[in-house]
Symmetry: C2
Subunit: 327 residues, 2 copies
Amino acid sequence: MTIYDIAKEAGVSASTVSRVLNNRPGINKETRDKVLQIIDENNFSVSEAARGLVNKNTNMVGILVSDIRNQHHIEGAYMISQHLIEHGYCSILMNAGESNESKAQYVKILASRRVNALVLIGSTFQCAEVENAIAMFMSKIPVIFQNGYFDLPHVSSVVADELFGTMEAVSYLYSHGRRKIAFINNNDTPSNNKKIKGYKIAIEERNLPEYIIPSCADSAEGGAEATERLLAEHPDTDAIIYSVDILGVGGSRYLLDIGKKIPGDIALIGTDNSPYSKISNPRLSTIDNKLGELSKNCYEILMKAIKDRNYVEHKVVLPSLVLRETT
Amino acid sequence: MTIYDIAKEAGVSASTVSRVLNNRPGINKETRDKVLQIIDENNFSVSEAARGLVNKNTNMVGILVSDIRNQHHIEGAYMISQHLIEHGYCSILMNAGESNESKAQYVKILASRRVNALVLIGSTFQCAEVENAIAMFMSKIPVIFQNGYFDLPHVSSVVADELFGTMEAVSYLYSHGRRKIAFINNNDTPSNNKKIKGYKIAIEERNLPEYIIPSCADSAEGGAEATERLLAEHPDTDAIIYSVDILGVGGSRYLLDIGKKIPGDIALIGTDNSPYSKISNPRLSTIDNKLGELSKNCYEILMKAIKDRNYVEHKVVLPSLVLRETT
DNA sequence: TTAATAATTGCAATCGATTGCTATAATTAT
DNA sequence: ATAATTATAGCAATCGATTGCAATTATTAA
């Protein structure tokens, strides 16, 4: 069913139907009502694809998420897509896959769909492949990168200063008497690298020993296992910072199981202030990277950029410590 | 940049470019290479909208999720969209909003985008508004409803027999000596109603008292608060079934805080075998509704339905108990 | 050497909308 | 009653692709 079918039934031309559909002036009320009635009777809905073709505007925004199963990412994507819908835009939410090549591939797919803007959520997009894909296929449309940065003139960014966050955590632990502060990392991402860097700087500043577990599975089990590894290597550890909360949840569980007191023997700080940190037992202290605020900034920039294709902004938000039962 | 621009630069017609783009036979290798080179030099990507217009096929599938922040929903959506991508389809993932009207509205939006199929994830879609919207605007394309059922000839469904699951939980608790078994519900959804129904049947069968808390906030705090309410009303409660795991996590926390032994004094069973149930302390026993299996069935049906527009299937999967530390 | 066949490529219509311009009918002014 | 103006509605081109059919050229057969 097309506007021609509607036109025929209503005894008018397709132009008239189109004008009714778009509330254009200069249509007789009777004609308009008649057309509206036929549209309603036939459950007709306009093809956005055809409309987009002539308008050169798809009203679609691509949201690329590095791991859609990540609570924070999805929360950000959720906020953005809600706002988009309210403004008449439709969002194509995609999970970008593991490899850099596949991530770049998704950029190309969204370019083919001619999205009006692109939002990247997740630091793992920060790689040459994606940067190139954006430079090649998305150079004409606004891009907002949440949690990462590209040196491209039309790409806005919103990042948490994770280096600062981790430094704050070390600082807090130190000021409460901890001297053997460890860092347990899950995987190698630009975001985690910043955390490690912050940790190293803060540790070095205070002449403390560096206890780093560079990688482990991204799960409670992984956190438990890494904590076990850490203690085997450095039994005198008296504080642990985890690169993500879920590791801390598993870690605290393990430490309790082997009879350690938390925070008596060992203090624990996770990262991200995730739901896990709130419900874990004991409740996990955490570095709050203000992901909510990040997302909020992200869609605010997005909205401005959609209106004004040349709008670009770079925003940094400062993390803060949330102290609960593990410190 | 369009195929005409490419054609001009390559000194051929647009038809030729199109044939190269689609790997059609009957093009001289030299011509093909030349065209490919120009395409590459210009970072050209085909407009899927224009392509979809003539092919009457958008290669897009709509995935409507009732709450994208729900870990299970998003996991299902993730699995489906991964498979779609592998098969050359693009998925439009949308969060459908609270009200039934807004949910129906989203169906219409996706219809306008001319998706090739629609996946509904979440029992809350089971309402007249959405059913009507589908009957009106999506009557020609396959629809797969995960976790709910519509009496429409072209709508497939995949559901967990939650009634059975809750009955099993009661049965288990009863056979382990519990006689004051309560049910705590978060919100009023078709899915939860089935759980309550199963609870009531199983309770009645055994002539036990019905302890029901009909609603509470969908969070750990909500679960704690509801558990407190339950005990105020029925201090003799010796087992609780929660409509979702997160309530049980909050509940167990509260019970521990007031000095109850778990499972000594009170046994706890959550629902859905979510990550929360695995990491909570103590680890929560749960009714596993096999959401993973559900999603797997869902995309299998989806793939068949995309190939054969008339394919319809109704699948029921049986939940099972996962026993951990709270029973 | 000429006819027949095969290999390439282009023309033009089409998909489902939108819109500038023109044509016609209805009003109002003179 | 005629001219000028306004209100409506349609024609046809356009957006960026795809494809059946025709046209041209190259190749092979007779």
